[in-house]
């Protein structure tokens, strides 16, 4: 097992280098001037050259890449051109807010998805199934930014029940788990939960229907097991696949959503990326993408190791 883990960790190294290279090159290949955030269009050539030197943009790309990687290895992702603040602190603060939103959305989406899926699968081809499936299809099909705007119009603008934007009355830095703060989380979490809810409903419905039609279920019933007991067996059999799908969905949500976070001004990685893109803040853009990419790489590593622990066949292959 240790050899397997070591091998998987070694595999991660070229992936990490590749990710860093792609992050660096993608933002440099985009047209426009990286100093546009702090250099007005009417700035003199002399001034532009002076700043280009000050920020190191006058050096060859490979040298810039080398310096950036070396600093990143030492825990320094540079300084945001626009704000002048350290990129790492900006990204970590945003990651914390995105994780909070993703976990809240996951709780809502997974609960609703599993519940609707089980009900739809159990009552397959009845009106109950049709209603649950319709909700699932809507969840997957409706653009989430549009859903967010509609929820804001209903619950914030018309009913005045929930706040429309932000992460708490004093911002996310003074977050507390009380109603005053949690009400800020409800609308963005509901909006983020729509797609996972739809996908999980459909997955669980298919699994439930499939399992219910298998011979062992007939055997259970023939042995006199009541429907609650049968259902328990169905859940156990559907769980591994459903959990894999949930893990994938959680991964997507942890990446943050530019659209949802912008609609709700939620200070997560999506809003940070949006701001970095529009300001062409290269260090911030590179740093955010790198941290998110590394997050996925290490999440995959953990999943691989966990799967190998549970199922030895994976390790052998």
């Amino acid at each position: 097992m240790l050899a397997y883990i070591a091998r998987r960790i070694v595999y991660v190294i070229p992936i990490v280098i590749g990710v860093a290279l792609v992050c660096f090159l993608l933002v440099h290949l985009a047209p426009g001037d990286p100093l546009v955030a702090i250099l007005p269009a009417d700035a003199s050539q002399e001034l532009a050259a002076q700043l280009r030197t000050a920020y190191g943009f006058d050096r060859p790309l490979p040298v810039q890449f080398g310096i950036w990687v070396w600093k990143a290895l030492n825990g320094d992702l540079g300084t945001s051109i626009a704000s002048g603040r350290p990129v790492l602190a900006e990204v970590m603060s945003a990651v914390g807010n995105t994780i909070m939103l993703a976990l809240a959305a996951a709780a809502i989406g997974f609960f609703l998805g599993v519940s609707l899926g089980l009900i739809a699968g159990y009552y397959r081809n009845t009106w109950i199934d049709k209603v649950a499936t319709s909700i699932a299809v809507m969840g997957v099909s409706v653009p989430h930014y549009w859903l967010g705007i509609v929820l804001v119009i209903i619950f914030s603008v018309q009913l005045n029940w929930l706040p429309a934007v932000g992460a708490g009355p004093g911002g996310s830095s003074s977050w507390a788990w009380d109603w005053t703060h949690m009400q800020y989380l409800i609308l963005p979490a509901l909006t983020s939960a729509a797609i996972p809810m739809g996908i999980i409903t459909r997955t669980v419905r298919a699994l439930t229907g499939d399992i219910l039609s298998q011979d062992f279920v007939e055997a259970l019933r023939a042995k006199g097991l009541n429907e609650r007991g049968v259902f328990r067996h169905v859940i156990k059999n559907a769980a591994p696949t459903a959990m894999a799908v949930m893990g994938l969905q959680l991964g997507y949500m942890l990446g943050g959503s530019i659209l949802i976070e912008t609609v709700f001004s939620w200070p997560g990685t999506g809003l940070l990326l949006n701001s970095a893109i529009f300001q062409r803040d290269l260090p911030l853009l590179q740093g955010t993408i790198l941290v998110l990419a590394l997050f996925f790489v290490f999440l995959n590593l953990i999943v691989d190791i966990a799967q190998a622990t549970i199922d030895p066949r994976i390790k052998r292959s």
Binding site: A41, D42, S83, S93, S156, V165, F278, Q279
Partner: protein, 553 residues
Amino acid sequence: MLQLKTAHTLKAAAAALLISASAFASSDARAETVVRIAMTAADIPRTLGQPDQGFEGNRFTGLTMYDGLTQWDLSSATKPSVVIPALATEWKVDDADKKKWTFKLRPGVKFHDGSDFNADAVVWNVEKVLKQDAPHFDASQVGVTASRMPTLASAKKIDDLTVELTTKEPDSFLPINLTNLFMASPTKWQKFFEAAEGTDAKAKASAAWTAFARDASGTGPWKMARFAPRERLELVKNAAYWDKARVPKVDKLVLLPVPEANARTAALLAGQVDWIEAPAPDAVPQIKQRGFVITANEQPHVWPWQFSRVEGSPWNDIRVRKAANLCVDREGMKEGLLGGLMVPASGTFEAGHPWRGTPTFQIKYDLKAAQALMKEAGYGPGKKLTVKTQTSASGSGQMLPLPMNEYLQQALAECYFDVQLDVIEWNTLFTNWRRGAKDPTANGANATNVTYAAMDPFFAMVRFLQSGMAPPVSNNWGYINNPKFDELVMKARQTFDADARDKALAELHAASVDEASFLYVAHDVGPRAMSAKIKNFVQPKSWFVDFSTMTME
């Protein structure tokens, strides 16, 4: 029985005391007046003295916490906003050497940290962006400052309340440009510098600026109270502000970055904020219906087509340039497309502005005259003139670039133009603005659609009209080369009497309109929506506003 009664009376008295105490407490809580503003910026503009994010940055984190030596008069909604004294009470150019200016400083002014504002502070603040070997030199503040005062070279202390500023060349625009240099507290910065860890002076200076941005100190009417990057900035009133007439009437200002227009509108309608910048245009009727107030006023901003004047450009024919200017129904655009939120442009400056002058060419909608000019130039229904304009789908100050350009496309078709639009990403368009019409990134366009601020003469005219400002020097994108413009720019720059300088600038403006230098289309009006509880707010003809005068009911 008596004892019982006494006990009841005491209880009642205690209860009354408690009630009145809590009533006092709640009236105290109510007494703090707070105005919450949703900005269009995606992040809090920089707070260390020289804000980023253009003039929105200056509006919210520049003019609130800091002062310059000079400032814009923002007190009137009807008169043009002009430069008036601020931390300098008077200034004068040297009679013998027109590159030297003496500024007398306002006595008794203190920074928010209690230190004195004096000549040393002015020299320190000039050096923070101009003297590269100064310990507090900060490259990140240079870009947004140096280009707005392009001729300032150095500062020298004469005495505690007098400084001498030197320019690279004689420049009468200096007092106007100095509105962009905000005075940060050297004492406060020094404390942060000394507290920074390490021995590398550069790293310590950088750390000191980062700390200063979180706990800023200027001389302005508002003091920083709380700063949460990317989320909120809380400012409280500076009761000891040197201009007693501008001591804020509201206790606290909360600034929130909400870049999405619909989100800002929703936050206002939900009662989460009291004021939003740039509401979504289609939401304006609903905002008004819900009892909010929309304020707007002509801004020193121009939405133009800037013509290429390189060899072979169709805009080299003045009849064509004039025809385009006469062919656009700007009132139709205002009412039909922008819900009234624009002012039709007949030049860079409109009537009443000291730099307007008296152009002989009147820019208005006159279809017949436009068609006649085009026929005279050799075009007609059977022979259309193809022109290509670069624009973007969005961008700072661009208003509604695509619908507005499509409107122009249709309007100009009536005058035998075949308009091709080349829509590119905003930053690419902006970068090409400096590179010019000859650059390959112009994609062969013979006009570009980048809006501009017209606060000061350099920004409004010089950078576009002076031949020496052609790329790569500045924004004379189309390579205009008109000796008359060059002569008038020099005249204005070297006229040091303010009235005479304004006259020279008016001459320059009139000449540029007579030459139909641009296709002048619209001025933005800086729309904002606010609660009806906000009173005494004046929206001047400026990019900036004075938050000091408003009250909250």
